[in-house]
Amino acid sequence: MRAHPSRVPIYLLLLLGTVLTFGPFYWMIASSFKPQGEIFTATLRLVPSQPTLDHYHSLLTKTGFVRWLLNSIVFALGTTVLSLFLSSLAGFAFAKYEFRGKRALFAIVLASVSIPQFVTIIPVYALMVRLGLINTYWGLILPFSVNAFVIFLMRQYILGIPSELLDAARIDGSSEFGLFHRVIVPVIRPAIGAAGIFVFLTTWNQYLWPLILMQSNDMMVAPVGLATLSTLYVIEYGQIMAGATLSTLPILALFLLMQEQFVAGLTSGALKG
């Protein structure tokens, strides 16, 4: 893009980068197929000598992994749907309406982006106790659906929608909510896609909150469940790697399929910020 740099160093860098990036990922997959004794050997073994499905088998039958994965999916999907709904509605209001208190309210929302979530852990935990939501899906989904960042994204995007579109719809007799669901939502689909992926990834990633809010084995989410395999008296590394592989592949597949939307959505939010 500038004065032509020589190609060889660039190819080397790319190669190095790819090796570094894929290395751990490959190691995870390879280890999950290695027989127990081979996972920690003194000498390097890049490829399993006798690939085995044992770890997958014992992971799926002896641990609660299937349930954990399911919990992760319910948690991530539920949070995504709820937060998209709440935030797009509110983002619409902030973008296309004038009302008293708008500036103050938006400032509060913005300020909360920089407040880390762990500040609220203890009181939210106590609140969940009182509401009886400990160890339930709602107990995990509700706090996470309050995502100020997504409101921000939505507002930015909706600001770019010409107001004439809305006025035309009003003249046609649409109610305000109808404006939202018939005019706005179809237009902001890319933003919804990107924000949705963002929220999904963030909640898929969660460890500390599910650790605290979920108590029984069968309500754990995948990362928490897998980590418990690492604290048992005898650490089952093979199982852990199998579980790691299984919980990563869906996200990877999702990303590969939705690459364009994701990148577009991510960057639009950042750019306009």
Partner: protein, 434 residues
């Protein structure tokens, strides 16, 4: 498009959304309903949830479930297994939140004061009182708090030495001649010349290291706290044992906690003994099955030729019943079964090699079977050859971190052992306020 049509459609959309959310909620309750809970309730049985870890969980899965459900056919056991620390955290959280606690839970006995001080469990004093003379005093004493008994104490976990007979024979070491720790160290020096370690230690030590060190400290009749819970000041024995632990590292195979390298070394004969607590044997058997028949067991060495025949302890469980339990009667039956019956003790011994604290079981000849893994030696003979001095645990979760950090500092050569203990003592006094 008329406005009426518009709002009509919108209302329908709203209803659709509500329906979707409702379906979602329904799916969620379906999910929580599916599982052993629902199955058991459908079968008309009383479901008892029990939390346990490691060896206890193995014991429960392998035999307790069958024996107990055989004895009480209308009760269905549901075991949740998790690591001990996760379990302790979750138990605390559930006691605090008033919900989510199981009917019976395993508690790390040395951590018990954290719960004893805060309540939340069923007082079992009256029910257990009749067993007082049938239980080892050390175990009994650790279940007591503020004059009440809060749980069933099924076991004691004394220290012993599992050694590799082939390695010993090869280097002319006779297990019967290792009577004192000095003998042990002498043998260790011989082995070291051949590049073999006589024991292993966890480095980084952390909280694990404190408990390993404690095996030695306890066996020498040391204590960090007085029975009332005050930190013992100017603890000369502790300083001595810190130094001893520091110096024995020269003979030790240092490896991180639970690291596979330990098994590799054991199997390859580079590690000659597994000097640990009794249930450690279960882990050894699982990780090194090829050593079956080649290992032996011997009692904890003494601190002097005419020293008391003591050993230390590491671990010990308590079966508690959280007050939230809706099946307290059935829960008590399970606790009683696990702690005060020979059947329960047999199940826990066979599954997890937990030596019973229940005397009828401990002295029972039927349980004292030869163990083929150890070449036909009888574990109970070795266990009964030693007694455990009383040890007082207070605020152990914080204590073990404080002591563990000092052990690490000392092992990394940053402090003299005596200074490390002095600092530990000072921090204990400051942080715990005892």
């Amino acid at each position: 498009m008329s406005r009426e049509n518009g709002s009509h459609v919108t209302r329908r959309q709203f209803l659709r959304l509500t329906a979707a959310l409702g379906a979602f909620g329904g799916a969620q309750s379906l999910l929580s309903a599916y599982g052993p809970t629902a199955a058991a309730q459908q079968a008309g049985k009383e479901k008892l949830s029990i939390w346990a870890w490691g060896e206890a969980a193995i014991g429960i899965k392998d035999s307790v479930e069958r024996s107990f459900e055989g004895k009480y056919p209308n009760i269905d056991l549901e075991l949740t297994e998790m690591g001990p620390w996760d379990l302790m955290d979750k138990l605390y959280a559930s006691l605090a939140s008033g919900s989510g606690a199981p009917d019976v839970s395993e508690v790390v006995r040395r951590m018990f004061s954290k719960y004893g001080e805060r309540g939340g469990m069923v007082d079992l004093t009256d029910r257990i009182a009749k067993y007082k003379n049938d239980v080892l005093p050390t175990a009994w004493m650790q279940a007591e708090f503020a004059g009440k008994i809060w749980g069933g104490m099924p076991d004691v976990l004394p220290g012993w030495v599992m050694y590799n007979r082939e390695v010993f024979d090869k280097y002319g070491i006779k297990a019967s001649e290792i009577v004192t720790w000095d003998d042990f160290i002498a043998a260790g020096k011989e082995l070291k010349k051949a590049g073999i370690s006589i024991l292993h230690t966890s480095v980084p030590a952390g909280t694990w290291g404190t408990n390993h060190w404690n095996l030695f400290f306890n066996s020498r009749r040391g204590n960090v706290f007085t029975p009332e819970g005050k930190v013992i000041r100017n603890n000369e024995l502790a300083k001595l044992m810190f130094r001893w632990y520091y110096e024995i590292q020269d003979l030790a195979f240092q490896t991180p906690v639970n690291d596979p390298s330990t098994w590799v070394a054991l199997k390859q004969g580079r590690l000659a003994t597994y000097t640990w607590n009794v249930p450690g044997a279960i882990v050894v058997k699982k990780q090194a099955p090829e050593l079956s028949g080649k290992m032996g067991i011997m009692p904890w060495p003494l601190w002097g030729k005419s020293a008391p025949k003591d050993t230390g302890q590491w671990g010990g469980t308590l079966w508690v019943i959280p007050k939230q339990s809706k099946h307290q009667e059935a829960a008590w039956q399970l606790v009683e079964f696990l702690s005060f019956t020979v059947e329960g003790a047999t199940a826990m011994w066979k599954g997890g090699m937990f030596p019973p604290a229940y005397l009828p079981a401990l002295k029972s000849p039927s349980l004292n079977e030869p163990d083929p893994y150890f070449g036909g030696a009888k574990p109970f003979d070795v266990i009964n050859a030693r007694t455990i001095p009383n040890y007082y645990f207070f605020d152990w979760q914080r204590t073990e971190k404080i002591i563990g950090d000092e052990i690490d500092t000392m092992l990394k050569g940053r402090k003299a052992p005596e200074k490390a203990w002095e600092d530990a003592e000072a921090k204990l006094i400051a942080d715990l306020g005892r």
